[in-house]
Point group: C2
Chain length 836, copies 2
């Protein structure tokens, strides 16, 4: 094995080492006074309590799922086709799950430290506050990316040596087993995202409804019993949930590229593994350039633009990574590659990476346009708030739906362009290139909730207003980066799903790479798949609604039963609210998670791979649309509401907080909360997880459904059907025959120049099935003379009608075959050939 391969995990380790240094730096910062530390302590404890409760449930899931996987790994043959798996896939699954949970844990741990330290830093300057909060975000980003690259790279090396004795199947098996790692990571990601999302929004909505609206106290007021739960929510949803989410996405994207890369046969310096190693190397380099990028994220003074600093950091890491990809691609890949018949050069691969980066950039820009303050869409919602709650909602829904147009057109062009350059490998590597700077993306994403929390602590500790102003400045930027991050995530998910989809097709239907939606059952699968994101979203937002109502009841109870809360004389029972959110989120995450995991199993094992392919396509399209719609509607409502804080002009009149239009905008924001932080961002995990589950079961369902039906149909029906059937299961139909042919080297046409004995030997040598051999033998007459295929009607061209009929009888042609032969003669018995 080429020692270059060790570079991959080393790049991961470099990321983790830098992370450790940054984490230590955050810990060293001043954590403020006792009051602040006490509040921060509550938040940290609440977050930890949630994670523990979540892990308990997920632990049970992991045990069952890994047992099932271990069992599946012992199956080495299905319908006579060898399966390249091993029970070790269950180990990979467990490691993936643990790594994913760890990624979330690291992020949450540093966030609950960085929050109070950011508050303290904000007492001195904006510059320092940005530094602390962004470093906190960086720790998370590097942790996620480092663990992912280390895990994938390290396990790949381990598996290559474990399966070294499998010869030519070593790499195939190693990658097959590695899908377990991705499955583990993505399963945990789904639960973490959904659970965290329900938690954070139940607490947020509950705290707002009763605190701001009913009791008239400001957000994050220490008197509100739900305020700690609200701040815990930022950490478990926006930090830990997002960490697990991006960890899963990142791994899935790299893995999808590896699976497709494995199909490419090349001669290179890496034992033919360059297409497999490329995505890992690019993502490893992405970690390095993300570290470089963080150096640019700094501001001079209070008036500097935080957004510009972040943009500079982000773009420099993206551009550096793209430039580096050029050289890496040139150096690693051979001149030309070929995947499933599409030929492309190494430069084409680079262009596909560029396409991926462009798609990501456009998605970010469009998302920003639809959700940013001061832009048309948000302004239209503000205007519609003037006529009440209902028109505000209508306005937001319309903005969300409209915001799907350009992203979808971009995505569609991106798919076509990356495919044009480098086929399916191009689509996959485009996604990988887009995700390469995940460390930086995540640092930018995660700093938002840290700043949000810092503001909460400042408010609760009743610090001077300039502190809150500074954290609000950071929080506002954080809102925009969160929205653009979501646009980015959904784009990468769409491309990754397509790559996983392609990988799935390659494994599940090797002979017949079609997912034909013109077939009734495939279209039915498409319908059912399209429906999944709707029920998934419904369950998520309903869970938030229910949990928020419980929260409201509890807060009302505390206000009623604990005298003195309002006068700061009694402390609210924060932990009860934390417990409500925790319990509700754990309970409610199970059903949506189960739907995502189980649906592909049921459909795959019942209806086979083609219908499952239809299902996946439906989930992907509908999921991407619902994801964009919900995330953008939520973001736009949020910023419409925020706009009222500085005052907005509607038809010449100024409106501020507490005005009627502002109240309408609060309604929109509340509806948007579960849209943008629970169901919307879950969509990208949903579509990827379902694709990964399908990929894992692909070898076991190969041959279920259409193929057997087609075979039966071949045997039953006449020519036209038969031809259609045979094409469907990949055999080359040769006039009337479809049961054998050269599907696996048994091309009976070879026998044309052989004696009967030679032909028999050939059949034996090439491992033809008994049926195939028998058919070969049938091509010789009683005297051992070659007469061609049993019912080769073409031979009749030189026969009279009677001879032809006799030939048919001699060769045991079927009645249909004979009828067809006879139809080639006109009424006078003259041969006229057959019309097609």
């Amino acid at each position: 094995m080429n020692s270059f391969i060790y570079l991959v995990p080393i790049l991961g380790i470099v990321g983790l080492i830098v992370m450790a240094f940054k984490s230590a730096w955050v810990s060293k910062q001043d954590a403020g006074d006792a009051k602040m530390q006490e509040l921060a302590g509550y938040i940290a404890d609440g977050a930890m309590a949630f994670l523990k409760a979540e892990w308990k449930v997920l632990g049970i899931f992991v045990v069952f799922a890994s047992a099932l996987l271990a069992y599946s790994g012992t199956i080495h043959e299905v319908n006579g086709v060898a399966i390249h798996s091993s029970w070790i896939i269950s180990i990979a699954f467990i490691i993936g799950a643990v790594f994913s949970a760890t990624a979330g844990y690291i992020g949450m741990k540093v966030a609950t430290k960085a929050n109070v330290r950011t508050t303290q830093a904000a007492r001195t300057s904006l510059k320092q506050a940005l530094k602390v909060s962004f470093t906190g975000g960086t720790v998370m980003g590097l942790g996620v990316a480092g663990l992912a690259v280390l895990g994938l790279g390290g396990l790949f090396i381990v598996f290559l040596s474990v399966f070294a004795d499998l010869g030519e199947n070593t790499v195939k098996t190693a990658i097959e087993v590695l899908t377990g790692f991705s499955l583990g990571a993505e399963s945990i990601a789904l639960f973490a995202r959904v659970g965290g999302g329900i938690y954070t929004k139940a607490a947020d909505v509950g705290a707002d409804l009763v605190g701001k609206v009913e009791a008239g106290i400001p957000e994050d007021d220490v008197r509100n019993p739900a305020t700690i739960a609200d701040n815990v929510g930022d950490n478990v949803g926006d930090v830990a949930g997002m960490g697990a989410d991006l960890f899963g996405s990142y791994v899935a994207t790299i893995l999808a590229t590896m699976v497709l890369g494995q199909e490419i046969v090349v001669e290179d310096k890496f034992n033919g593994m360059s297409p497999i190693l490329l995505p890992m190397v690019i993502c490893g380099l992405g970690i390095l350039f993300s570290i470089v990028g963080t150096w640019f994220v700094r501001i001079k003074d209070e008036k500097s633009s935080v957004q510009n600093a972040l943009n500079l950091g982000n773009w420099s890491s993206i551009i550096l990574t793209v430039i580096a990809s050029f050289f890496v691609v040139k150096w690693m890949l051979p001149e030309t590659l070929n995947l499933r018949g599409v030929e492309f050069s190494s430069m084409d691969v680079f262009f596909a990476i560029v396409v991926g980066s462009l798609v990501g950039a456009v998605m970010s820009i469009v998302t920003e346009y639809y959700t940013a303050m001061g832009k048309g869409p948000v302004k239209s919602i503000i205007k519609q708030s003037a006529t009440g709650h209902a028109t505000n909602i209508i306005g937001g829904l319309a903005v969300g739906m409209k915001s799907t147009v350009i992203p979808i057109l971009t995505l569609a062009s991106g798919i076509i362009a990356s495919y044009y350059f480098a086929g399916l490998y191009g689509v996959a590597i485009a996604a990988a290139g887009m995700m390469a700077t995940t460390a930086m993306q995540l640092a930018i994403d995660a700093f938002g909730p840290i700043a949000d929390n810092a503001g909460g602590i400042a408010e609760m500790s009743q610090l001077p207003p300039e502190v809150r102003e500074r954290t609000d400045n950071l929080d506002a930027v954080g809102n925009t980066t969160a929205a653009t991050g979501k646009g980015f995530a959904i784009a990468s998910a769409a491309l990754t799903s397509l790559a996983l989809f392609a990988a799935f097709v390659g494994i599940a239907m090797p002979d017949n790479q079609h997912i034909d939606i013109y077939k009734a059952n495939v279209l039915a699968g498409l319908f059912v798949g399209g429906m999944i994101p709707f029920i998934f979203s419904a369950l998520c937002i309903q869970a938030v609604g229910k949990a928020a109502m419980d929260m409201v009841q509890e807060v009302r109870r505390q206000f009623r039963e604990i005298p003195g809360i309002m006068e700061y004389k009694a402390k609210p029972e924060y932990e009860k609210c934390v417990a409500i959110s925790t319990k509700a989120s754990i309970r409610e995450m199970i059903l949506p998670g189960a739907i995502a995991l189980i649906t592909p199993l049921i459909v795959g094992f019942t209806f086979g791979p083609e219908v499952l392919g239809g299902l996946l396509a439906g989930v992907t399209v509908s999921g991407v649309l619902m994801g964009i719609f919900q995330s953008n509607a939520g973001g736009a409502w949020d910023n419409a509401k925020k706009s009222f804080e500085q005052g907005v002009e509607i038809n010449g009149e100024m409106f501020y907080k507490k005005s009627e239009p502002h109240k309408a905008s609060v309604t929109g924001d509340t509806v948007g909360d579960p849209f943008k932080d629970t169901s919307g961002p879950s969509m990208n995990i949903l579509i990827k997880l379902m694709s990964i589950v399908s990929l894992v079961i692909a070898p076991y369902i190969s041959g279920i459904g259409s193929t057997s039906a087609d075979k039966a149909c071949c045997e039953e029906h006449g020519t036209k059907t038969e031809k259609a059937c045979c094409e469907n299961h990949g055999a080359e139909a040769d006039s009337l025959e479809c049961t054998m042919d050269d599907v696996n080297g048994c091309d009976m046409s070879k026998c044309a120049t052989m004696s009967k004995d030679e032909c028999a030997k050939m059949c034996d040598d090439n491992g033809c099935s008994p049926e195939q051999k028998e058919e070969c033998m049938a091509m010789y007459d009683k005297d051992g003379k070659f007469i061609g295929k049993g019912c080769d009607m073409d031979k009749c061209a030189t026969m009279t009608k009677e001879e032809c009929a006799k030939m048919c009888d001699d060769n045991k042609c079927s009645p249909e075959q004979k009828a067809k032969c006879m139809s080639m003669y006109d009424k006078d018995g003259k041969y006229i050939g057959h019309k097609k």
Copy 2:
């Protein structure tokens, strides 16, 4: 021609005659006092004004579109393939458009007569009020169904005789031209539905926001300047819009079945036309049984259940039609039929009709469950209204999304089952069976808005409360029937679209009936298609929001500037509000309509039929989901609000009108208005219209896109690609060769037993192309000995590596082919065969 065919238009005429009698009966009823007649006059004038404005715009559209169609009809060949069209298609288009507009006009005319007569009847008894309003609905139902059956049947007969001299292409061309009728009908339907939907909801929302909420006057108060516009809206949206909609749907469904039926070759008593005539006959009988059904719609006294009476009428017409279908199918169809390789019996066709009826029934029941008062979903919204506007909205959105599950599973099962019974013809006939009793369905649907209007007139004329109570009773039932009608419509639209989709594939890609979503560009098409319903919905609900705001400003102005309105001393300027709604709806219907019409043209002519197929699948799936989601969410919100009128219990407390939870429920209802009456019901026209446009352009785009690309690819690339390409354009790839083969009778394998000269002759006789002949000749060596196909690597099995290399050189194999041959030998030169 068999004279039986004349039965079809005769059945349509019977429907129209009965309609005329019923219409005369309505006119004869007492129209009440002068005040009532004055108000009814305003409504009728407003409705007429809208129709005129709409027809002006649509007239321009029809002129342009028919010119384009006439031109297209003059093209008789594209890429060497004959097209069976004629300029007469433009006449069919114009007739379809005029019939569709007439259907809407008849409905509106009778509705604006029946409304005030129902008010007058309600002064005496509920029984009489039901009789008048339901008879009004019946006129509309019979008008729509009668015109459709007359139009389709009559034109088909005319076209058969016009194209009689085309021989075997007569029927094909007649049906091809008939698609123009459906295109005309469905285009007008889309504009009428969208325009009418925007009108009615803009007026409704505007009137409510400023009347009920701001001025505190009841609904339909004569002092509200927007009240006439609101009542006009019921007629132009819920009556005329729906009439045109169902006319279009009905025609499209029958036509789709005819197109597929035309492909079925049978021997029967109807010159082989039984599968074409069947849907028309069943739908014609459906008219008769709908008339029978109306006899059952009667109640005894004030306490009788109106819903039960309607159900009895509906079910008796459905059951009678299904029973009649059994005999019709038995009598008309031959024992066995075969469509695209699927064989089925006449009984299978009947079973498919039963499946269609069952799907329709389940859809209606599920829709009722999700939207009816007192059931779980509506109750959950009521409960969530207790915590405010936002939770009410969240609740309604969740209900709408959840309500997609069972309908989609039903639809998917229905597709699979009807396909299982009778292939694609089964899917189409299932939809036709479901739509057969459209006359009855529409009567039930249309009586609702008539009763609604009657209530409005009662309120405006300040009649005694028991009158309003009686009309409210009818209106409430009307709301439920409207919701179930929508469930029914979307189900039939889904099945019809699939049938149209199949018809499209048959015409656009006759040689290669695949829509493979595994291809990058088809998947891109699927994404773009999925997005269309989102932008379409966004435009619709946004238009309502904007127009409603204009309405609010105008009403506010009138209250401000016209003194004495509130004291009944001055009359509001009703016509100004009518003008606002009219103008806004006409203006705003154009863009969504254009998107639906133009997108398939752009995609089809740019990317070809397969990508267009992906687009259609995306539109269908996403459109069905968005349609169900929006219609049901809107219906549930509406009834949650209505529940407050009788009082609801939330957590042990009773809430009534004007309570805080009621206000929250009004917000939900207002958001739901455009959902359930503008964008939701437009979805089924959208998906059908796009399918019909695709069907009309199908012959012209056949061959664009994939095929030529595949051909190029065949010439450029190596084995694997070549094989894939060739399969794609339907040739049977024979190992390495794909440029010829037996695509048109030039099977070179025949030559194996011929001398070179015989083979040359065979090529000439069978009309092989020069290239094909050349390739055949290449199978003989210099001495005229047959050596098989140029580069048949299989022959190497009995050669040494050197011999094989020489063979490759001698036969001018391509470098790739030679490389492949060489790869079949191991390092030691031993033949090891090739791996697949």
